[in-house]
């Protein structure tokens, strides 16, 4: 009797565990066009790598599905003074190896992120000191006021001090010559995130499993993740259509109809926080590639104005972006902190006005100008440039278009190539999701010493806007700060410093039995993935 009931109990237990295993085992398989460059969270500040590692590592703060700032390893924070922030750390958080998270790890992480080979130096150097108040409270000091500090910290992932010391990984690894030093963290991880890496073959496959000791209760029911980089878009789409993966991104905009027509899969699209725009060389006395000699036509505001009004953003949206772009009058997207919808008014399409302005400026028959464009960086980048060229042709401007792969394009138009372009197309997502990043990189006057205007390729320069950049950086009162931002935006618009085109679409392909959140920064956060099968 006793034995029988025990056996029964045993059988029941096995049945229950088998059932629950069936309920629980949810595998999520996804593919991106490239692999994460490294597992080291301070190796490279690149969106995909950091987004991928965000499932494994965590910062003090983070972003939710709607890009709202949320607490992660900090529970709350307050500013003691404009340059001192107090962060209260979460208790009971375990690293994947079982180590405990505390204030020492925060200080260690910051120091590691400032090491010579760190890709997070720009971010970490905002901080001048971190003081430990007790094991779960730290005070972070910044050199000047940094109102966006909590946003920046979302991308500074916390590493375990003991683990890093044990594996000689207390500094970020060098990218090349001596890559064998400090290399442990590039192939191993020990984060606090909901998933831990159990298998990694760079460029081939990464397998993650749910971390049982995770402190939070994320929405996801995924227990196992298989990530595969697939570089060819056609192969990626085929893998999704054949049911071998649950999610693929990015997928070509041209494939949306095909995906939606196929059973069980759909295209997922929404606005990305990336603004695509045109820039004009306003620095040189003579353009590098133009029929106009001895002077720079873009120095004449009437010419810039003529260009801006000759471009039909809605036509680009309709004919090239398949309706999936959001024409913009600002250099930053609605998801970016500091966005004001009232300021977002695109330049009006008015080719007659453009012709008139060109005639007034002394170019009644137009002129020839070179244009640089990437052809594998943004959604339909080369096609947009071709459309711009044909629109400008209608007002008499002959565009000599050079579209090339991103590696060659960036080598030519950015600082390393001496900003060698008269007219170009570029896209920008501020890494901090704050408008100051746009000002300091694109709009402030070029200044190598102060590391400003690095991507201000055409060197648009206005003294007041330059001042405003500093004011926006330091102002902690949101109302005053917004006034500065709006003032800057208005000046830029009035001076036709840039020609914003649109926000480009995110383009994912996903199985219908999987629900995901498509974040505007194109980050795949598995915390938001639910598998319904």
């Amino acid at each position: 009797m006793k034995i029988r009931s025990l056996a029964l109990l045993g059988a029941a237990a096995i049945a229950i565990s088998a059932m629950s295993a069936q309920v629980q085992a949810k595998t999520f398989r996804y593919a991106f066009q490239a692999d994460a460059q490294s597992l080291d969270p301070h190796g490279l500040n690149e969106t995909f790598t950091l987004g991928f590692l965000g499932n494994v590592y965590e910062g003090l703060t983070g972003y939710d599905a709607q890009m709202n700032l949320i607490p992660l390893l900090a529970t709350k924070w307050e500013t003691v003074s404009p340059t001192v922030w107090r962060f209260h750390l979460r208790k009971g958080v375990k690293f994947h190896d079982g180590g405990t998270f505390d204030a020492d790890d925060v200080i260690f992480t910051w120091k590691r992120a400032t090491s010579t080979e760190s890709g997070q130096k720009a971010r970490a150097s905002l901080i001048s000191n971190i003081r430990k108040i007790d094991d779960y409270t730290v005070e972070i000091e910044t050199a000047g006021p940094v109102p966006t500090l909590a946003r920046e910290l979302a991308w500074l992932y916390i590493m375990d001090k003991q683990w890093s010391e044990k594996h000689n990984a207390t500094e970020a690894a060098k990218p090349a010559s001596a890559g064998r030093e400090n290399a442990w963290a590039t192939t191993h991880e020990n984060g606090t995130g909901p998933f831990r890496v159990v298998e990694r073959q760079p460029d081939v496959k990464t397998v993650m499993e749910r971390f049982e000791g995770y402190w939070g209760k994320p929405k996801t029911n995924v227990t196992k993740v298989i990530f595969t980089p697939i570089s060819q878009a056609a192969t990626r789409v085929a893998a999704l259509l054949s049911g071998q993966i649950d999610l693929a991104y990015p997928v070509p905009v041209q494939d949306w109809n095909r995906l939606n027509a196929a059973p069980g899969v759909k295209a997922l699209t929404g606005p990305e926080a990336r603004t695509i725009f045109l820039g004009m060389d306003q620095a040189r006395d003579e353009l590098t590639n133009s029929s106009v000699k001895g002077k720079n036509p873009f120095k004449d505001i009437r010419v810039r104005k003529a260009f801006a009004h000759a471009i039909d953003l809605n036509a680009i949206k309709r004919a090239i972006m398949r309706g999936a772009s959001w024409p913009s009058g600002l250099m930053w997207a609605p998801q970016v902190n500091g966005y004001n919808p009232k300021m977002n008014v695109p330049y009006k399409y008015d080719p007659a006005l453009s012709k008139k302005l060109l005639a007034e400026a002394g170019y009644p028959d137009g002129f020839t100008v070179g244009m640089d464009c990437p052809n594998n960086r943004y959604v339909n980048d080369e096609k947009i440039c071709q459309a711009v060229a044909s629109m400008l042709a209608k007002v008499g401007i002959k565009v000599d278009l050079l579209a090339q792969p991103k590696s060659k394009y960036f080598a030519k138009v950015t600082a390393s190539g001496g900003y060698n372009t008269p007219f170009y197309l570029l896209g920008w997502t501020p890494g901090s999701m704050d408008v100051h990043n746009v000002f300091v990189n694109l709009i402030a006057c070029r200044d190598k010493e102060r590391n400003r205007g690095k991507y201000n390729i055409g060197d648009y320069c206005n003294k007041r806007v330059d001042e405003l950049t500093d004011l926006i950086a330091a102002e902690t009162d949101p109302k005053k700060r917004q006034a500065y931002i709006d003032e800057g935006a208005a000046i830029l618009k009035k001076e036709y410093g840039y020609i914003p085109l649109h926000q480009q679409p995110l383009s994912w392909g996903v199985r219908e039995d999987v629900s995901v959140a498509q974040r505007a920064d194109n980050v795949m956060d598995i915390r938001n993935v639910v598998v319904n099968r």
């Binding site: 720009a122 890559g179 595969t228 570089s231 056609a234 192969t235 893998a239 054949s242 590696s407 080598a411």
Partner: protein, 322 residues
Amino acid sequence: MLLFIARRLAQSVLVMLTVALIAFTLFQYVGDPINNMVDQDTSLAERERIRKQLGLDDPVHVQFWRFVQNAAHGEFGISYRLRKPVAELIAERFPATLELSMISAILALAIGIPMGIYTALNRERWPAKLFMTLSLVGVSLPTFLIGIFLILIFGVQLRWLPTFGRGEVVQLGWWSTGLLTASGLKSLIMPAITLAVFQMTLIVRLVRAEMLEVMRTDYIKFARARGLKERAINFGHALKNTLVPVITIIGLQVGSIIAFAIITESVFQWPGMGLLFVQAISEVDIPVMAAYLMLIALVFVIINLIVDILYVVIDPRLRVQS
């Protein structure tokens, strides 16, 4: 004979150096690797520091000389993109490429030779005409198109075969093989066929042409006159003489199968050296590009060397000249 080999070896070194030099000259035009190694917020000073660290600010001839010196020691540097030693990366990827190439080569031979014989012997029958038409299609279709067609039919529509990757692999020491698992074998089918199609059609046409040539020779006529069986004539006399040039060509084609694998590998996301090379190009990963080009050059040099030696062994006239 030894003198001949020594001279050939010296020429091979020269060939390798030339390949390296051409490669390095081209690398000046592939773009800026630093841009792919840093992010948009990285300061210009930091970029310059990395450029210096990698020695990319040195003149081309200095970079070239450094590369040659390191390569002579078997040192190919660290991949900019994957941050691993290049030699290690290539060793990891080599088995995938070699398995794919060898299976394709076997496939091309096993199907191509019988088809070639058949079309030569039965020129007027309709299957022969069909094979010839198909081989024309095979020669003219680009590899990636064949791959995409196969994926669409057998992967997306019928769902018989996996569309990407290598499936489960088994580690035998440093060698990873996909030949021992079911998913590995299934994954191999479509890429192997894609890669084999061109070689196969080439072999069909070659065997057919050679066979027709041989069938017209006097000794075949004489064999017929002796009243030998058709079978003995076709396979005993004709085929044997046909295969000599076919084998030479196939030997040389092995090199190009490995090199052609680039396209097949990127269509099927096959984790071999070709895919590594394609990704290295898009990210300006110079150490990987350099090592791959050198390796392919080495493969061709070795094959040519062997073929040259074989010629000397087979043909006494060459020996007299040397």
